[in-house]
Assembly symmetry: C2
Homo-oligomer: 335 residues x 2
């Protein structure tokens, strides 16, 4: 939502997608044929760590037992539950800009709409963060909450993901869907803690992940309650940017304590603080970090600083290698 | 938290309590002897409206049916779930100030601690809102989240309510406890949307109301995540004041849509917008407003403007007369 890297990617979307991608998922009915709760996960250290953790914290005779009320799991979304190259929210911002021009032709002469319509990638390259914030403000605010939610709904009805040309649900990760289900079956309340704007993610959270709107937290705009229409207006400018150190702050605000289970991904250094905060729980906790190391089936991208992976090693977090730990990557069947 | 009326009351606490009060609750085992889900409510228009509403929205053959996932109820706390003359949070602020002086004697020479220790009600009268904000900042911030929560826990262990000299749980309203239980038994997720600061209310929400921390929203301070200690620091100054038009904003932020059921109280004009917002739900909704009209068993206080009651009449909200609708007022048995 803010870095120059994202802006570069944004500009790339204007012309095509980011990087090609192959091998759709092939999960299927494994879960019905076996008692394995995580059929799309290869046997190994990470899968064992997850299952061992869930066993011990749900065993009331264990010293590690966690009461159901405190079994809270928090997942990042982009790069953790679905692919992030490009970010789906960027696709939405462009689609929304085009949609707005269709409804009001005069916008085609105004920036940032003009640049979107004309595929003017230089505008976003040169404008940097300022141009991107302008695009987000123009497409995500200045309307009521209900109007925005309708726009999100319309987008997801027909949107496809450029690199693979598949519907958006097909870029969600099958192993993570199984993990969410497994946790819920064991009394965990599953949350999304996303860098994406919250109402955008809420637009698909139940449909794609079985997570209700009130269990999604994310980046927020300022809201204003309009008495006369009893509606919420979305105002320009971010109220909270939910990335990095913003994540523990949001989790405290919404949950009132650290989640005992947290899963993020390396790539943008965005989830380290969430995982640290989870580890500060008074209960036994588990932290997972998705490593994007599969250039064939998904993507290969690593932080220049290696910070997330370094922190994982230092703090004994489990690193999920997409290449080695996931039997299947993408979802084969819709929820 | 901000008005001069509150400051006056605050000063009053310094010398005694606010107003005397009689007749403790006498609820008991009625709920075990009958199928009446609301035994502490007198039969009448309001009780019927609640039961009729719950019946119709949980009947899948009814045109008014609401899916379980969207059955969300939001309750104000002060004056709606427990008594608010004085506010429990004010008692805490004073107790916390005294506790802090006990730990660090030097504070006794500094304001606002000096005024608290010396029972100097003129300080708060003359200082107005500024002095009150100073007291809240001094007692609620400048510590980690865990330290603050421990202070809240200690307070509730021994705190009593001045006018009646009873433990705090005995100033919660028995009919509302029954209503919360009734709603939950019918698939509703119950939330508190309080003008009080969120972590303070979370300190008792499960114990007193069966509501988990993550279902409490309220007034917030700014938080800062401290990487080195993995803790949340509470910073001076409010991030959000959760009263009046602040309530729909918070509900949108946390729930992602209006609650279908909302209950507030008249007295401070604080809940009108929450009830309006609830009524904007796409589902059939119900709004309740507690009227403090019982000077014998609870309190009698009315808004000079009569705004809340006027809005109730205009919008067909149910007005709960404590005098006529509640058979018992206070809880007789701890949860």
């Amino acid at each position: 939502m803010k870095s120059l890297a994202l802006i570069t990617c944004l500009a790339a979307i204007l012309v095509s997608g980011c990087r090609p991608q192959t091998e759709p998922a092939a999960a299927g009915k494994a879960s019905q044929m076996t008692t394995d709760p995580l059929p799309s996960w290869n046997d190994g250290k990470v899968k064992s760590a997850i299952i061992d953790y869930v066993h011990k914290v749900t065993d009331s005779s264990s010293g590690s037992y966690i009461p159901v009320a405190d079994r809270i799991a928090s997942f990042d979304n982009d790069g953790t539950l679905w692919a992030e190259k490009p970010l789906v929210q960027e696709l939405f911002a462009f689609a929304q800009a085009r949609e707005m021009v269709t409804k009001d032709g005069r916008l085609a002469k105004k920036q940032p709409f003009k640049a979107v319509i004309e595929g003017d990638k230089e505008y976003f390259h040169k404008g940097g963060e300022k141009a991107f914030v302008q695009l987000v403000d123009a497409t995500h605010t200045g309307m009521t909450e209900v109007e925005f939610e309708n726009a999100v709904k319309n987008f997801f009805t027909s949107a496809t993901y450029p690199p693979r040309n598949v519907p958006i649900w097909q870029i969600t990760y099958q192993p993570q869907i199984e993990l969410l289900n497994y946790l819920r079956a064991n009394g965990f309340k599953t949350y999304i803690c996303s860098g994406g704007t919250v109402e955008f993610v809420r637009g698909i959270s139940m449909d794609l992940y079985g997570i209700p709107k009130e269990q999604v937290v994310g980046t927020t705009f300022n809201y204003k309650y309009v008495d006369s229409s009893r509606s919420i207006m979305r105002l320009p400018g971010l109220a909270h940017f939910n990335d990095k150190e913003g994540k523990p702050v949001t989790l405290q605000r919404y949950l009132g304590r650290p989640p005992v289970f947290a899963c993020g991904n390396e790539g943008g250094e965005g989830d380290v603080e969430m995982l640290q905060f989870s580890q500060s729980s008074k209960y036994p906790s588990l932290q997972l970090l998705v490593n994007h190391d599969d250039s064939t089936r998904e993507y290969y991208y690593q932080e220049k600083t290696n910070w997330s992976l370094d922190e994982a090693a230092k703090n004994n977090w489990q690193v999920i290698s997409i290449k080695h730990d996931w039997k299947n990557v993408y979802r084969a069947e819709k929820r």
